[in-house]
Symmetry: C2
DNA sequence: GCGGTTTCCGTTAACGTTAACAGCGTTCCG
DNA sequence: CGGAACGCTGTTAACGTTAACGGAAACCGC
């Protein structure tokens, strides 16, 4: 019992294969009753069009590649869900590729996706250079590209992400308003997100007229262990900070662990604000204040941008979607009541 | 600048298209120097084989469908990562489909995946009946199928999952050993996982000679809100339980929230054990004791089973992988010190 | 030097679908 | 009533790749 093909349905109905093909795709050339007859039989035989064959001749695969560093981060998982939810009803399917933040893995994945003739690509790239062979071959294949989360300057691509500078500003200003004077920042990776949040931090400090002690601006990363280590370093300083803006919620969670272990209180001794609003933030030991990035809106925005680019066969100019940050105050930073 | 095809490479080298095709696939008919020449030029031209065309003639897509209810649950996200990690090096690509626990969505996704001629399918199904049209059409297409997490009795499929009865037993026995006498259980969904854990709970209680008060066995679900609601109900009882085994960690997190809000202490008044060891469990207000299911081993096991079935073109008999549970004791259940 | 093997490489015909064009009755209009 | 216009259906040739077969050299043993 092989899968049913167009030919089978056609023979079964005594019509030509093209009639069936057209009826299925609502081609206007097909009479109303013929179409009805075909659709009925197709349903009965449980015919499924072969997307590979269809793709060969139309040049469209209805496949979209989503390349992200880490599915375990709820941030990317949420984006993935939002993208899928938007694209699936339009007939696209999403291939998710995990790069584990490795440039090489990313390149390999993209290369295979291009071989699969994906109709579009959404990438949260670990790369910082738009002149890399990866971006060149994407441009060469003329595959629409949308960058998310991390912006890559110079790439021929649309972008959907959060307003990172706004995030840093919002979080830092909040800490200052809560009375913190020695505000520290645990930095993220040296991508656009990390740099933007750092810049927002500096901006807020400057606006408040507070000096930025460079001792308080320490490298972290994306994981809770990085936050833990960075915080331990900060606590060893002669005058530990009384407020910390962390690059992300996992980093903040790690930092809070370090603070609690060292015997300090949150937010009494040190107030903490993270970013990302991961779904478990308010279940933590001390519910974590955070800046919501609107992940799902980023995902939806990226999907929209991509769809628009895919529908137009011709090159569309790059567009931008910046999702505004939203402060969520919980216990970890509430000092005034 | 269209993408490079075999024909282009062949013309460029002055050989036939088949020579290139064979050289690329290490066909023994190709001479050593010819192969080298071809490979070199292929690299230079950045040729990528067209998987659709290749798939048409070989009948293999090197696509694998992974159908799961919810990517946001770290359990499934971890499985997805483990599956990808195993399958990608073998040349497969994974299409992830989110069903949101909806049977209809699941069926639609599977139908499209079959149309894409996936080489294999891994499904954590929301369905309970192996006689549903979905399972029939999968069997009809002779696509190898591996079920994960939830077992569906009667389906022609391999299975990789956790030993749910063992999980329930382990967690409950632990609570009893910690001195709990009125042990409650917040149930999961009525799938194999929920039923298995319930059965393990009963088994452990019986072995300890404790009566199971049916008031203490309450319906929950998979989310933290369900756990919250269920726990509030339990606390209203004249004699609230002094230990609760929750179907999953999110449920447990919700339950702990309810307990804390009601002014009780954990584990003093009520001890809690969850299941799943989601990655934020030890960052919660009270670090959560849990039973680790070994998600990644489940994912790896599923991938292995699937690969074995896909390599053999003929039907292979269904196989089973049961990952043993592992108790992780944290603060939420540590009463004796 | 002649059958027979081996070693390489090319030719042809698929795979299932769709685009482009061709056909063939009807109807409509002058 | 001739021809154009229309409405529907069929025919042919692709799309890029591989399987199966075909064939020409080179090599070998006797």
């Amino acid at each position: 019992m092989r899968p049913v093909r167009l030919k089978d349905v056609a023979r079964d109905l005594g019509v030509s294969l093209m009639t069936v093909s057209r009826a299925l795709r609502n081609h206007p050339d097909i009479g109303e009753q013929t179409r009805a007859r075909v659709l009925k039989r197709v349903e009965e035989l449980n015919y499924q069009p072969d997307w590979m064959a269809r793709g060969m001749v139309t040049g469209r695969s209805y496949l979209v590649g989503l390349v992200i560093p880490d599915l375990m981060h709820s941030f990317f998982a949420e984006i993935a869900m939002a993208v899928s939810a938007k694209l699936t009803p339009l007939g696209y399917q999403v291939v998710i590729a995990n790069t584990e933040e490795q440039v090489l893995t990313e390149e390999r994945h993209v290369s295979v996706l291009l071989g699969r003739k994906v109709d579009g690509l959404i990438i949260a790239s670990a790369q910082r250079n738009a002149r890399s062979p990866m971006f060149r071959s994407i441009a060469g294949c003329k595959v629409p590209l949308v960058l998310i989360d991390r912006f890559v300057k110079g790439a021929e691509a649309s972008y959907a992400g959060s307003d990172d500078e706004g995030i840093g500003d919002l979080a830092t200003t909040h800490l200052i308003e809560e009375g913190c004077r020695r505000v520290a920042h645990i930095k993220g990776p040296p991508l656009s997100t990390g740099r933007g949040r750092l810049q927002g931090f500096r901006l807020a400090m400057k606006r408040a007229g507070l000096p930025v002690d460079e001792q308080y601006v320490v490298p972290g990363d994306i994981s809770d262990t990085a936050g833990y280590d960075a915080m331990r370093g900060l606590l060893k300083l002669p005058k530990p900070p009384d407020g910390v803006f962390c690059y992300s919620d996992p980093v903040a969670a790690g930092a809070m662990k370090a603070i609690t272990e060292a015997g300090f209180s949150i937010p009494g001794d040190v107030a903490i604000v993270g970013a990302g609003n991961v779904h478990y933030s308010d279940l933590l030991r001390v519910p974590l204040s955070t800046v919501d990035q609107g992940c799902s809106r980023i995902g939806e925005g990226a999907a929209d941008l991509l769809v628009r680019a895919m529908e137009h066969r011709e090159m569309t100019p790059p567009e931008l979607v910046l999702v505004g940050p939203r402060l969520i105050v919980r216990e970890s930073s509430r000092r005034t009541s």
